[in-house]
Symmetry: C2
Subunit: 421 residues, 2 copies
Amino acid sequence: MNHIASPDPAVALRDQARAARIAARALAGSSDAQRLEALLAAARALRGAETAILSANAADLAGSKAKGSFLDRLRLDRARLSAMADGVAAVASLPDPLGRVLAEWDRPNGLRLRRVSVPIGVIGMIYESRPNVGADAGALCLRSGNAVLLRGGSESARTAVEIHAAMVAGLAEAGLPDAAIQIAPTTDRAYVAAMLGASGAIDLIIPRGGKSLVERVQAEARIPVLAHGDALNHSYVHQDADPAMARRLLVNAKMRRTGVCSATETLLIDAACADALLPGIVAELRALGCRCLGDARARAILPDLDPASTEDFHTEWLDSVLSIAVVDGIDAALAHIAAHGSTHTEAIITENADAAARFLNGVDAAVVMWNASTQFCDGGEFGFGAEIGIATGRLHARGPVGLEQLTSYRYEVIGTGQVRP
Amino acid sequence: MNHIASPDPAVALRDQARAARIAARALAGSSDAQRLEALLAAARALRGAETAILSANAADLAGSKAKGSFLDRLRLDRARLSAMADGVAAVASLPDPLGRVLAEWDRPNGLRLRRVSVPIGVIGMIYESRPNVGADAGALCLRSGNAVLLRGGSESARTAVEIHAAMVAGLAEAGLPDAAIQIAPTTDRAYVAAMLGASGAIDLIIPRGGKSLVERVQAEARIPVLAHGDALNHSYVHQDADPAMARRLLVNAKMRRTGVCSATETLLIDAACADALLPGIVAELRALGCRCLGDARARAILPDLDPASTEDFHTEWLDSVLSIAVVDGIDAALAHIAAHGSTHTEAIITENADAAARFLNGVDAAVVMWNASTQFCDGGEFGFGAEIGIATGRLHARGPVGLEQLTSYRYEVIGTGQVRP
């Protein structure tokens, strides 16, 4: 068991991180076959522990003072647990992210150099109520050869313990060390503070949760953080857009799911086509329950739009609300995005390849799209198979973070006795 | 001029970082031809400003209370200035690091995805006395499309201002914004503190200097840092090493230059060959002025070795001193390195390919070498053309940091109207 009886969260973290470093070395030296075996065994263990996990979850739910969507995120049932186990097994179907030769070249002195993917090391995962994060993150870290310290929310603590036990059962079956996947022995926030200060002991922190969690982690961390910040995404309808495609993409980008980070929050539309296209787009969005706010030029076309303030154009709605601005061409669209965007996902809709190229090269975002719904910004949709989150920083990884982004690299230098002059 | 008259270092930094962000966008949209023109013009301007730069440097030297090696690092002469200009021009001869398609694939729904290299954005460079860092870092950041804020040491402030003026002259000649390369308007340490806290305004901090500078930056920074930590490198002579090669490599790895981070600090040698090889290696090192310390087993072979304490095996000498331990094979060598190494550069010397593979895969280091001198850990020797430093962290970049490591990436998603189900 990884449950350390220490009363001091900082001491507990220190001891767990040391054990994780040793486990990370063992994982780095393990075969992919072993890691696959552990994943499949963990998936079986999750299914086998259905009664224990659902009972623990019922106790968590009974003990929670939360309501509504928070409780829904916390709740497991047989179908969700089965999907969780499927998710763990699915990570075993992806290609091995380790040992890939990323580059290889020879030097004039005969040295051969190779850059090869290796695990990052020890990852600290800080999350909130969703119990599946423990299984997903455990599986992705395991496959990529990283040890992980899981610190979930106190509301889902009993569920997290049972899920963790199943993951550890998988490790044991494959002969891999328990300490490769550890769970915080306390919900004391001092443990989180200790994680964030564990320079040299934890290599990377990944927070998953609401804005306040992410902001606290970014403000306090003394070690690298891969985090998801704002997602104020724009879809820009260029004057050469196909009208039917523009309408279809906008409706999907805004309304497929409104609470996700890939949703479009602002529509920019060229003045040259706004008269013709805006009424139809707004009518269809409204029919689906979307509230539309417009700037003065949009309201000149559709006077019954609610007025959009400057603040509205800075607002990530995560709801059935869309801000609309009429712009004069690509440069104006780029200027609006530079002023209001969050460098997450930005899309242009046009049949004009030159315009698309100008937009793609001119916009600063982790993901730029041409004639596609912004809702495609997702590790699964990118073909990564699974994602541990989406990163909005500019270092190490941007966009969806899958197995490949959970690796680092080393250089191998192969000589025949060369000395440096 | 970028010299802001503000008395408040935090305000000055804020204003410079804002200007840098705008300049970074302009750089991201510039052509490589423009960036090349700016580099070549800056190299010419450095040569043209010889009198001004050397006078400023003479004033810095006259005003400095430092001595010895510190003064030598600060000193410029015609040859060093010419080499600096050559270095700036040489960055123009490297391949364009931007717009490289790092990966490209299609999804079953017809979406085409591309991962494309882009600039990081705004880089903060904090360095000490060497005036050439301003030119080198300015050139590398410019070529990679990043704006840079340079904050050098107070002892070289006059020199830094003149070098910066030449770099800006290059920018102006190519029609690129001044603010792409800025210099701190004050040597107040509060400016550094403001840089380290400029989350969202500066994307990456690169410290170049002594251990105390790097440690301060790592402890205080709220933004990603690419830094060089310890470099306690080992060369391991395996029992199947070629004796002449082992001697040649050890002498070079330890003594070519002793003050560099690629120097070998500890020799590990298999017991099976230590009797035969150690006396010759030590004799040659001693003839070159190297002091050799040995563990008990090494001293059993060479009783006149100074005794090496546990602390000595944790010491990065950066001097003509070598710690020596006799080990029993690869696993013992790996265990010693895991306990004492700094994950920088580790080398094995052997004719046995299986042994080499076990070592390369089993050691945790940014650079692992087989039959080569550790002194090859260098951006120039790797073929990067130039380096801004060496990174010992595990995120974003490890090992020598050249143009390629100064880039981030974005995803381009090209569709034909796909919506997400």
